[in-house]
């Protein structure tokens, strides 16, 4: 009897421990690091075809083996991926993720600093690793995003981040680019009440300012190289533009209207800007041949958008990436979003359906942006030596019926929870229901 009691107590405390463990794991699930073997999977490598019934080995944050004839290393955690697919993590080439939390609340918006030419403002400094929006995004298989400052002419420097980590440094994915909002001759939206003349004048003024700034940056570069950096004083704007003039860093030109795209092409050629990426480019289809000829890669989007003109065909935004791609432009995609960057695969699906095709659409959210951002040695495909950043799904990740089962970012097996999934768990069958007592 006595023994029984003790056992009973033990049992209760064991149950208690178990419950505690469950509660703890529900409240603060942790990422897992180490060696993993993802076995029996269909592997969409993107760059080296599809491997049936293959294995991917992850070790120390890297992909160390890919193929059908791969031994599971000792000590590796085996994740049986029978019936599942492995894709590289998806990359969104244009977002405000991490820089904005609640759209309408200026206190939570950190992407628009004061000043018209402020390339020294770095997105990476203001990315909030603990944004509630980040887990919501990454469990949908979007693992890497470019976060862009936004505002006036040169609103800052964008940063590419992986969506797992507790400091911007841990998240940094190896690319930064100076953002240029190319002088816009279009209207910004229904709230833009400027006259045509005012818009034209503003664009001209803006272009004049841009030319002044660029000429100054070139002068600064000359002074800097002539004096071995000794002859220049503290000048943060020019220092931030220096790598762009040198060709060490990309200039990301946000440009949409076709006339503006043409003006930007002309400007880039005139100024001999060495590394350029166009961003947005919603009217790229109008001047696709010219963009292709200039060999400037684009990050196009949002795909789920309206045509820019009343007289344009209703599906032009859907068709835009495909038209540019077929004209020979290197096209990556972006959502232009913040809280719904998770919809990147659906932007890609619409691009695919309206002309781009599935294969190219997949490339446009994986290897192509990795190449454009100069990080294709680390991201964008399932290859040995690359970072272990991937998604594992039970089907085509561009379809809404598909579930993303696991996500790895830099070798970390990411917990598949977000506040949105937690709310689902709590409220699907709410307790108490209508009556409390």
């Amino acid at each position: 009897m006595h023994n029984l009691k003790i056992n009973f107590k033990k049992a209760i405390s064991a149950i208690g421990c178990l419950m505690f463990a469950i509660t703890v794991s529900a409240q603060s699930p942790k990422g897992e690091y180490g060696s993993f073997a993802l076995t029996n999977a269909t592997i969409e490598t993107v760059t080296k075809g599809t491997i049936q019934n293959g294995t991917v080995v992850i070790s120390n944050g890297k992909i160390t083996a890919v193929g059908t004839d791969v031994a599971v290393p000792q000590g590796a955690k085996v994740v049986d991926c029978r019936g599942l697919w492995i894709y590289p993590g998806m990359i969104d080439g244009g977002t405000q993720l991490g820089l904005s939390e609640v759209g309408s609340d200026v206190r939570t918006r950190d992407f628009n600093e004061v000043g018209d030419v402020i390339p020294q403002m770095k997105a990476l400094s203001a990315v909030n690793p603990n944004s509630v929006l980040i887990p919501v995004t990454r469990i949908s298989g979007v693992t890497t995003v470019l976060s862009l400052p936004e505002g006036d002419l040169i609103p800052g420097t964008a940063g590419l981040i992986n969506l797992y980590g507790y400091t911007p440094e841990q998240m940094y994915a190896g690319f930064e680019g100076v953002v240029l909002t190319f002088p816009n001759t279009g209207r910004k939206g229904f709230f833009d009440k400027r006259t045509d003349d005012e818009i034209k004048k503003a664009a001209e003024k803006s272009l004049k300012r841009l030319n002044e700034v660029w000429d100054m940056a070139v002068q600064y570069y000359k002074l800097d190289s002539a004096t071995g950096s000794k002859g220049v004083s503290y000048y943060p704007e020019m220092q931030a533009l220096l790598p762009v003039v040198k060709g060490d860093r990309s200039l990301m030109i946000k440009v949409n209207a076709s006339k503006d795209i043409q003006a930007a092409l002309k400007w880039v050629a005139e100024k001999k800007v060495r590394k350029v990426i166009f961003s947005g480019v919603v009217e790229g289809w109008r001047v696709a041949g010219e963009i292709a000829k200039a060999k400037i890669p684009v990050v196009a989007g949002p795909v789920l958008g309206l045509p820019t003109r009343d007289y344009d065909r209703y599906d032009k935004a859907y068709a835009n990436p495909g038209i540019m791609m077929k004209a020979g432009v290197k096209v990556a995609l972006c959502t232009g979003g913040t809280e719904n960057v998770r919809n990147l695969p659906y932007h890609a699906a619409f691009a695919a359906a309206y002309g781009m095709g599935k294969e190219e659409a997949l490339r446009s959210v994986t290897i192509v942006p990795a190449e454009i951002f100069g990080v294709a040695d680390k991201l964008g495909s399932i290859e040995v030596g690359k970072n272990a950043t991937m998604l594992i799904s039970d089907g085509d990740p561009f379809e809404t019926k598909t579930n993303i089962k696991y996500v790895f970012i830099d070798g970390w097996k990411v917990p598949m929870v977000s506040r949105q999934t937690e709310l689902y768990e709590e409220f699907l069958k709410r307790e108490p229901g209508v009556s409390k007592n």
């Binding site: 609340d105 279009g186 939206g189 958008g305 820019t308 232009g336 359906a353 019926k401």
Partner: protein, 458 residues
Amino acid sequence: MKRILYSILLTVVTLEATAQVEHGSVLIKGGTLLTITKGTLENTDLLIRDGKIIQIGKNIAPPQGVKVVDATGMYVMPGIIDAHSHAGLDAINEATSPVTAEVFTGDAINPFQVELYRALGGGVTTIHAMHGSANAIGGQCETIKLRYGVKDPDGLRMEGAPRTIKFALGENPTRVHGGGNNIVPRTRMGVEFVIREAFSKAKEYMEAWDRYNKSKGQKGFRGAPPVYDLRLETLADVLKGNIIVHCHSYRADEIFMLLKVCQDFGVKKVVLQHVNEGFKVAPELAKFGAMASVFADWWAYKFEVYYSTAYNAAILTKNGVTTSINSDDGELMRHLYHEAAKTQKYGALSDDEALSLITLNPAKQLGIDGRVGSLEIGKEADVAIFKGHPLSTYTIPMITIVDGIIRFDREKDPDDMRIYIDPNLPLEETTAADTHTNDVENCLQNAEEAFNYMFDHN
């Protein structure tokens, strides 16, 4: 003779009034029919006669003079219904008072908006053209059919659709009035008061009229009629159950508040709009019999939608709340089939459940489910034809039919579908924003003071 002439004239006038709605006849051959109410019918024909579905079956022979659409390999579903839109309207917000029940969006229909055609390009056939959310009690709304090409605004109305009215809770009315004009409501307490006060006054008004109407025939009655007031008249119709309340709302507390207020005043026909936190009070909504019209996944664009989840529609559905997915947006409106499909990722709804969210359920919320929302004999012939299953992200809407008339045909329509071309419009006008897109509700359009206020003082 005079009488005969008069009656002829009357007939002509009546014809003139009803002839505004064109009806067509089409035979859709060999498609997979997603009927919503009667399952999926493969390789089945659907015959439309004079704007009505009259036959569903195999190998229907084309009646003479009836156009035939070959839908082999394609999917045929009821036209999509958007229970929350501001398309086709030239005015949205009468933001001059916290209560503006007297105004009516049906007075501001613009049949020339190309947005209506673009919605047809997404398989949409009926929309609820709503007043905005600037006021606790906004204006009455109009249910319109996307008969794009018809130039008479009256020709877009869905004749006989029940009357509806827009209410709004939370940040929008409190910002516009309390924040912008320094009058009640500035808080959610104030919003409740504004609605209770309006209902109470309407109740007094209604009772005063009832008393007057009852006694005016009595011998010796000398009283005067109460002063006619369109605002109170409209609200009295809400209390009598003649107008369905469509209430913009987000937070669980304010949703619950509205249910209590409606319960206290005997208002039973209630649809919550947006209702991002509806999932938190799903049992209460189900018990009340209130319905919910939600976004698939919009959130975090303002504070009151920060604690949202994309599982909202699924939780509501599984708790027995009649739920629809709406757009509130000219872009989103074009892919409501894709928005509905997201409930399969977020909550694993079945195909029929997901498709109901954009067909039969919004029809119920607008009180038009006897007429549209499913493919059934006798219903109005509003049909969308897709290449690929409409819940696949790779699907493409091909043909959209309203009242038996093909209003969108992807293969045949020219690029430029404007009906009215403004000669003053510059040819190169581009509305390409240089700002990033953020999911923003469009409910505050036209409340420009409020809009500027939000931008300046946020």
